[in-house]
């Protein structure tokens, strides 16, 4: 869990600065790695010569996997700082040099890196303290009656620490597969077919029992415009076949259909559904 887990081990008979085994996956950033190298040696961040850690850091970086590539630049930046610090430590310092030398005015890279390490360590430790507190207190809970009530009703509780046997899960899944009803087929949309013949038969049947039929009466209660249109077309078809005559006194008035008495016997030929005959 923690970034300072014993991920760094020492090689035998070597100076403590050079670690031989580093588990790199544990480190998210270069400062975390550098701090772990220091802590694994039980050195004080405030006093350790950071340049002495350059070799160990570079060893660790050599183990950098390709999956770490997006962060490589961050690690390389710190590596370059460590090398700079080490090289400065090796070279004689020009304490008595002439005044105004730029090097002396520039900020000390070791002090800067040390300060960054301290700030980083403080926040890392604060994060770990927060985690401890969260585990100890579990948390505060605000009033969420619906959620809390539903969860309690459902028998929700903290996760069971004992792992479930996979075989039990497989058996349960098997049982479920056996008792599961076949899925309901999605409802199929079937278009309602209204045919001229069907509507013509309706008109004929109505005329068989009465002298005259009013089209509006026949269509009373019908709201489907297709049905109305096809019925009207069927009526026209019957007129064309001289089976009925149609009268309408005024526009929008009742359309009265009468059977033609003594006219031609109803044609048995099916009414042309292609509507070609209306051309």
């Amino acid at each position: 869990m923690t970034g300072s887990a014993p991920s760094v081990a020492f090689g035998e008979g070597r100076r403590p600065e050079s670690a031989t085994q580093v588990t790199f996956e544990a480190f998210d950033g270069p400062l975390a790695l550098l701090l772990s190298l220091i802590e694994a040696r039980q050195l004080d961040v405030l006093t350790v010569p950071l340049g002495a850690l350059a070799d160990a850091y570079l060893d660790a970086m050599a183990g950098l996997g390709s999956e770490r590539l997006p962060n490589v630049s961050a690690f390389v930046t710190v590596a370059s700082q460590l090398i700079l610090i080490k090289s400065r430590a090796l070279l004689p310092r020009r304490d008595d040099g002439p005044p105004g030398v730029i090097d002396e005015e520039a900020p000390d890279p070791e002090a800067e890196l040390r300060a960054r390490l301290l700030v980083y360590r403080a926040h890392r430790d604060a994060g770990l303290a927060l985690q401890e507190r969260a585990i100890e207190r579990v948390g505060l809970f605000r009033r969420e009656p619906s959620a809390a009530h539903a969860a309690a009703m459902a028998g929700a509780r903290a996760a069971d620490p004992t792992p479930i046997d996979v075989a039990i899960l497989v058996a349960a899944l098997d049982g479920l597969a056996r008792i599961a009803p076949p899925p309901d087929l999605p409802p199929e949309v079937v278009p309602r077919v209204i045919t001229l013949s069907e509507r013509a038969e309706l008109i004929r049947a109505a005329l068989a029992g009465a002298d005259s039929v009013v089209l509006q009466e026949l269509l009373r209660g019908v709201h489907d415009r297709v049905v109305v249109a096809v019925t009207f077309l069927a009526l026209l078809e019957l007129v064309k076949r001289r089976e009925v005559v149609v009268e309408q006194d005024r526009p929008w008035g009742p359309i009265v259909a009468r059977a033609v008495r003594g006219g031609p016997v109803a044609d048995d030929a099916p009414i042309d559904e292609s509507l070609e005959s209306f051309r």
Partner: protein
């Protein structure tokens, strides 16, 4: 629902008569609210001034210390939540478990919590590594919230923490954050808000 109906719009001419904001009434209001209320909202509902609300909230906060509830506050807003000591029992009832984060998420969260409002680049400067994914994950889990945008070039987002962070880590306000390492705290104090606008 009822809050909204009872809250008079600022430009409304007819205001309902003020109701005396007793400590008990305030407690009842927060109990029913089921969400954080702003101090202004409470003042509006009761028809009293801000100073009265602040005073009653102070009284309530003190009274609640002996009870199983606490007053949790984030900036302007306050809510009632269970006391930290009651956490384990309530957690067992609702089936909750303590939040557990990776080391990377924890240190990022700590930086945001202690240094808010803070930009992503300031977080990355402290961690020394790209933190985009970590911050996005924390925002997704509502442990980190976007507070707005910085005036720095590019107007980067400013991040902070809200009620969810306090609740999950068992705190009633940011004042309860454990102290940072003394030396570093002093250094941060010297730097002031510098790091939030850095880079």
């Amino acid at each position: 629902m009822t809050d909204d109906e009872a809250t008079p719009a600022s430009d409304e001419v007819i205001e309902p008569p003020p109701i005396e904001l007793t400590e008990a009434a305030l407690e009842a209001l927060l109990f029913v609210a089921e969400r954080p209320l702003s101090r202004r909202e409470i003042a509006g509902v009761a028809g009293v001034d801000r100073a009265t609300v602040d005073a009653r909230l102070g009284d309530l906060e003190v009274s609640l210390r002996a009870r199983g509830l606490r007053l949790v506050s984030v900036g302007e807003r306050v809510e009632l939540a269970t006391a930290p000591e009651a956490g384990p029992l309530v957690a067992r009832y609702v089936g909750a478990d303590a939040v557990r984060l990776s080391p990377a998420a924890l240190e990022t969260l700590a930086i945001v919590a202690y240094r808010q409002p803070v930009t992503k680049s300031a977080v990355e400067r402290i961690r020394g590594v790209d933190s985009d994914y970590t911050i996005r994950t924390l925002v997704h889990r509502r442990l980190v919230v976007e507070l707005g945008r910085s005036d720095a070039p590019g107007r980067p987002f400013l991040y902070g923490t809200g009620f969810d962070f306090l609740e999950r880590f068992g705190m009633t306000s940011l004042d309860e954050l454990p102290l940072l390492d003394v030396d570093v705290a002093a250094r941060l104090a010297e730097e002031g808000g510098d790091a939030t606008l850095a880079d």
